[in-house]
Amino acid sequence: MEMPRRALLKVIVLGDSGVGKTSLMNQYVYKKFSQQYKATIGADFVTKEVQIDAKLVTLQIWDTAGQERFQSLGSAFYRGADCCVLVYDVNIQKSFEILNNWHKEFVKQADPVDPEAFPFILFGNKIDVDGGSSRVVSEKTAREWCASRGDIPYFETSAKEGYNVHEAFLCVAKMALAGEHEQEHDIYFPGISETVSEVEQRGGCAC
C-alpha cells in the first residue's frame, strides 16, 4: 500500500537521572510501565505515529542519559531536534532546580536557528508517589518557571499510572509540527518505518 510521505519529528527528552524519562516514553508508546527499566546509557529512541488534524506525522522520541556527565554528547544527539521535552520529578527539588541547566545546555548544544522560538515543554512527573504527599515542587512554582522561560507548556504526569502522558506528548507533536522545517526531514526520511503504528486520533492540546 502506498503510504503518504510523512513528516518525521525529532523530539529530545531531557532531565535529571531517575525522573522517569524512559518510563514516560514507554508509557506513551507501548502503554506499559515496568519497574525493571535500566539506566539509559548514551541515548536511545522510540518512534510513534501520530495524526494531527489531517496530517500523519512520525514522532521520533530520543531518550537520553540523565547524569550530567553525559552532557557533552548533547550536540551529537540534539542535532535536528524539533522539540525538547524537559522532565523533573515533583518529589525531588534538585531535579527541578537543575532544569535551568538542561534548558541552557540544550540551547547551547542544539544551536537552534531561533532559540527564543524553539519549542520546549515541561513535564512534572511522578505525581502519583505517596498520593502526592511527598511532593516538594508545587504546580504553581513549576508554572512560574515556565512563564519565565517564555510561556512554555506544562504537564503534570504519572508514567506509572499513565496519567496525562498522551495529552502531554500530543502537545509535543503539535509544537514540533508547528515549528518543523520540512525539507530537512523529507530528504533523510522518505517513508520511515515505524515501530509502533498506532494512529493517534485525539486532538486538543492544553497549549
Partner: protein, 702 residues
C-alpha cells in the same frame, strides 16, 4: 559435583518469576570438552598453586567458564593474581587487599554513615554548594572538594543500583543492592579522578554476584576498570569512550570503506550508535549469562601475562601497554587477540577487543545497514535487533578476523607504525620479532594478513591454539602491502632495516638477515616492474616457498638454533595432546583433543573440589599433574607441529589454512623466494601483478 553439557544455568542466576517473560533466553551452555570446567580448573594448579594459565586460556577461549568457578577464574584473567604464584602468596595478597578495602570503607563510612549499613541512598544528601540536605546523612566535618564531589555522586549511584539487573532474583535483596552500592561508592572515592559514571553499575553487578566476599568483588571490579576507566572519563567537551569510537571509525574505514562511507553520509561518522556497546561491554545487547560469557572470552583473548605486575603499579603508570618485553614463552600465555597485537607491536591501548567486537557486529549487519539505513535512526534500529540474538563466540571470532585484517592494513598504511612494530623490545633482548624467530617477511599486494602466524587460527572448527613446539616455531611476520604503494616502497626498506636492527644481536639470524637486505636491493630493481611480491626467508630454507618444496617444512626452522633446550622446560605444561608429534600425520583436531581429556578425567576422580567461586583457594590441589613429568609423553602441542608436517608434504600452501583457498594460493604460492634463483622468479611475478591483486582480495568478513 559433576556437571554436564545441558544443565540449567537458571540455577546459577535465577530470574524473578515475574520477569521471565521479558528476559531474553541465554544462549550460552557449558559444553563438555570445551568449557573450562571446575575439575579442569582445579587440575590446572600445581601442588603449591601455580596456575597453568596457558591451558586455562585455551579452554576459556573455546567455550567460556563454567558458572561454578567464574568468580575465581575472572580474578586471574582480570589480573588480580599472578598465575605464577603460590596459594600461600595469593592468600597473603588477598588478605592484604581485603584489609585495604576495609580501611577505605571505614573512611567512607566516617563521612557518610549509611555506607556499609546494608542500606543505600537514592536522593541527594548534599547540595552542589556542599550544604547537607539532611544533616544526619553526612558528617559535615568533611567539606573539602574531593569529599563533596564524592558525596554528590552517591545518590546517582543509588539511583542506578536500584535499576541494575532487577530481573535477577539476586537483587531482590536490599542487602545485595547495598553491596553493589558500597562497592561503587568506595570505588568512586578511591578513583576520584573518574568517580562514578552511569554504566559502571552494569560492569560491577556481575562481580558482586560472582564473588561473595565484598572486598574480592571490589578488587575484581577495580581490575576490570583498569581496562575500562578511560571510557568513563568525562570532560566538558567529550567522553572518554569517544576515543574508542574514533578507533572504531578508523577500523571500519580500513576494513570496510563502503560501510564507513555510508555511515558518514548518514552523519554517523562519530559512531555514537555504538556508544552503549562499548560503555557497558554489550550488557544490553546480550542476556546476563551471555554477557558474562562474552566478557570472559574477551578477557581471555586479551590476556597478557604482564597484566598482574602492570596492575600492581599505581593507576597512572599502568596506562602503558603491557606489550613490551614479552619473550616467547610469555607470548604463549597471551590470549589470541593480545598475541596478535604484541606480535605486530601494536601498542595502541584504544584498540581493545571490544572495538573489534562492535566492528564485527556492524559487519554482521553490513548488508542491512547499506540497504535499509536512510538515517542514523535506522542504524540504531537495525542494531537494536541484535539484542539477545547474537552468539558471543561467533562475534569474538569475527572480531579477531577483523583485527587481523586491520593490523595487516595499518602496518602497511603508516610508516611510523611499522617502525614501532619493528622495535618492540628495546632492552637488549631481540624484541618480539627476534623471539619469534622471524623466518621471513612477505610483502604482498593487497596486504592481507594471512593466518600464517598460527596455521590453526582460522580453521572453522578452530582447534585449540597450540603454539609451538620449540622446534617448529614457525612464526611469520607477514606484512601486507597495498597496491598503490608499489611505486614508493621506500618504507619497505625502513621496515626491513629496522628488523635488521633489532636482530643484530642475534648472531644466528644475521646471515638470514643479510639475505633480507639483499632482497631489499632486489626489490629496488623489481619495483620498476611494478611488482614487489616477495619473501625472504631463513638462510637454511632457501627456495622453500616454491610449491612442493619440502623446505617449507617447519621442522628445520630458522628458529631451531634457539632451542629445544630453552623451551624444553615448558613442555609439560602443554601436555594435553597425547599423540606424539612425530606420528600424527593427519588431523589433530577436536576429537583427538577430547580423548586425552577423557582419560584425564578418569584419572582425576579423586580430585577434591574447590569451591573456587566462593572461597579462597588455599587448599592444595592434589592433582598437579600438569606439572608432573609423567605427563611428558602427553605433550603434544602438536597441532602446529603437525600442521607443519602437512606443510612439508603439501608445500607452502598448506601453511595457511584459511577458509579462502584462492586467496591463500594467491598469497603463498606466488611468493618469491629469496634464494639465488629468486630473482628470476621475481621477474616472472613482476609481470602479473594484477592477478596477485585479485587473488589476494579480502576474505572473511564481508
Amino acid at each position: 559435583m559433576k556437571r554436564t553439557g545441558a544443565e540449567d544455568l537458571g540455577d546459577f542466576y535465577p530470574i524473578r518469576p515475574d520477569c521471565q517473560a521479558d528476559t531474553p533466553k541465554p544462549r550460552f551452555k557449558p559444553r563438555a570438552g570445551k568449557t573450562l570446567s571446575e575439575r579442569r580448573w582445579n587440575a590446572a594448579f600445581s601442588e603449591d598453586g601455580h596456575l597453568d594459565i596457558e591451558k586455562v586460556l585455551r579452554r576459556i577461549q573455546r567455550g567460556g567458564v563454567h558458572p561454578a568457578i567464574k568468580g575465581s577464574v575472572w580474578e586471574f584473567v582480570l589480573g588480580c593474581f599472578d598465575p605464577n604464584s603460590t596459594y600461600e602468596e595469593r592468600n597473603q595478597l588477598r588478605q592484604c587487599r581485603r584489609e585495604q578495602y576495609i580501611r577505605w570503607k571505614a573512611e567512607c563510612q566516617h563521612m557518610v554513615p549509611v555506607i556499609g549499613s546494608g542500606k543505600l541512598i537514592t536522593t541527594p544528601i548534599i547540595t552542589d554548594a556542599g550544604q547537607p540536605v539532611i544533616d544526619s546523612a553526612i558528617n559535615s566535618c568533611f567539606s573539602d572538594k574531593r569529599s563533596i564531589q564524592w558525596m554528590l555522586a552517591l545518590h546517582q549511584i543509588g539511583l542506578d543500583v536500584v535499576r541494575t539487573d532487577r530481573a535477577l532474583a539476586f537483587y531482590e535483596s536490599e542487602k545485595n543492592q547495598a553491596k553493589l552500592w558500597d562497592i561503587l561508592a568506595i570505588y568512586a572515592w578511591v578513583d576520584n579522578d573518574i568517580s562514578y559514571v552511569q554504566g559502571m553499575n552494569d560492569i560491577c553487578s556481575p562481580m558482586v554476584i560472582l564473588l561473595e566476599n565484598e572486598a574480592d568483588a571490589f578488587w575484581c571490579f577495580e581490575r576490570a576498570m583498569r581496562r575500562l576507566r578511560e571510557n568513563f572519563r568525562c570532560s566538558a567537551s567529550s567522553m572518554g569512550v569517544q576515543t574508542q569510537l574514533s578507533t572504531l571509525s578508523q577500523v571500519i574505514k580500513t576494513v570496510d570503506p563502503k560501510l564507513h562511507q555510508h555511515l558518514e553520509d548518514l552523519d554517523g561518522g562519530e559512531y555514537l550508535f555504538a556508544f552503549r556497546m562499548l560503555m557497558v561491554l554489550f550488557r544490553r545487547e546480550f542476556s546476563f549469562v551471555d554477557s558474562l560469557y562474552l566478557w570472559e572470552l574477551m578477557w581471555a583473548m586479551e590476556y597478557n601475562p604482564n597484566i598482574f605486575s602492570l596492575y600492581e603499579k599505581p593507576i597512572a603508570e599502568s596506562d602503558k601497554s603491557a606489550a613490551s618485553m614479552l619473550n616467547n614463552k610469555l607470548l604463549k600465555q597471551c590470549g589470541k587477540f593480545e598475541r596478535n597485537k604484541v606480535k605486530t607491536g601494536c601498542k595502541d591501548q584504544q584498540s581493545a577487543l571490544a572495538v573489534f567486537l562492535v566492528a564485527s557486529v556492524l559487519e554482521a549487519k553490513n548488508k542491512r545497514i547499506l540497504k535499509e539505513a536512510k538515517g542514523l535512526d535506522d542504524v540504531v534500529q537495525i542494531l537494536s535487533d541484535i539484542t539477545g540474538n547474537m552468539d558471543a563466540r561467533k562475534v569474538c571470532k569475527e572480531a579477531l578476523k577483523i583485527h587481523k585484517k586491520y593490523l595487516s592494513k595499518i602496518i602497511v598504511g603508516f610508516g611510523t607504525q611499522t617502525l614501532s612494530f619493528a622495535r618492540p623490545g628495546q632492552k637488549g633482548d631481540f624484541g618480539i620479532l627476534g623471539d619469534l624467530k622471524l623466518q621471513f617477511v612477505i610483502i604482498s599486494y593487497k596486504g592481507f594478513y594471512r593466518p600464517q602466524i598460527n596455521p590453526t587460527y582460522n580453521d572453522e572448527e578452530e582447534p585449540e591454539m597450540q603454539i609451538g613446539f620449540p622446534t617448529d616455531v614457525k612464526h611469520v611476520a607477514h606484512i601486507g602491502w597495498d597496491g598503490p604503494s608499489v611505486n614508493s616502497p621506500s618504507w619497505v626498506n625502513v621496515i626491513l632495516l629496522s628488523l635488521f636492527g633489532i636482530m643484530d644481536k642475534n648472531s644466528s639470524l644475521i646471515s638470514h638477515l643479510k639475505l633480507v637486505v639483499m632482497d631489499i636491493e632486489k626489490l629496488r630493481d623489481a619495483k620498476e616492474e611494478g611488482s614487489a611480491k616477495w619473501a625472504s626467508e631463513g638462510s637454511n630454507r632457501k627456495g622453500s616457498q616454491a610449491p612442493n618444496s619440502p623446505a617449507g617444512a617447519p621442522s628445520s626452522p630458522v628458529g631451531s638454533h634457539s632451542s629445544p633446550t630453552r623451551d624444553l622446560p615448558e613442555l609439560p605444561k602443554s601436555s594435553r595432546r597425547r599423540s606424539s608429534s612425530g606420528t600424527s600425520a593427519e588431523s589433530p583436531s577436536r576429537e583427538k583433543t577430547d580423548k586425552p581429556k577423557q582419560s584425564r578425567r578418569s584419572s582425576r576422580n579423586g580430585t577434591k573440589e574447590l569451591d573456587g567461586t566462593r572461597t579462597s583457594r588455599n587448599h592444595k590441589d592434589p592433582c598437579g599433574e600438569s606439572e608432573s613429568p609423567s605427563n611428558l609423553p602427553d605433550i603434544p602441542k602438536k597441532s602446529r607441529r603437525k600442521k607443519s608436517k602437512d606443510a612439508s608434504v603439501e608445500g607452502s600452501t598448506s601453511r595457511s589454512r584459511s577458509k579462502a583457498p584462492a586467496q591463500e594460493g594467491g598469497g603463498e604460492s606466488e611468493m618469491i623466494t629469496k634464494s639465488s634463483n629468486s630473482n628470476e622468479q621475481r621477474q616472472n611475478r613482476g609481470s602479473s601483478p594484477s592477478r596477485d591483486v585479485e587473488e589476494s582480495g579480502l576474505s572473511g568478513i564481508s
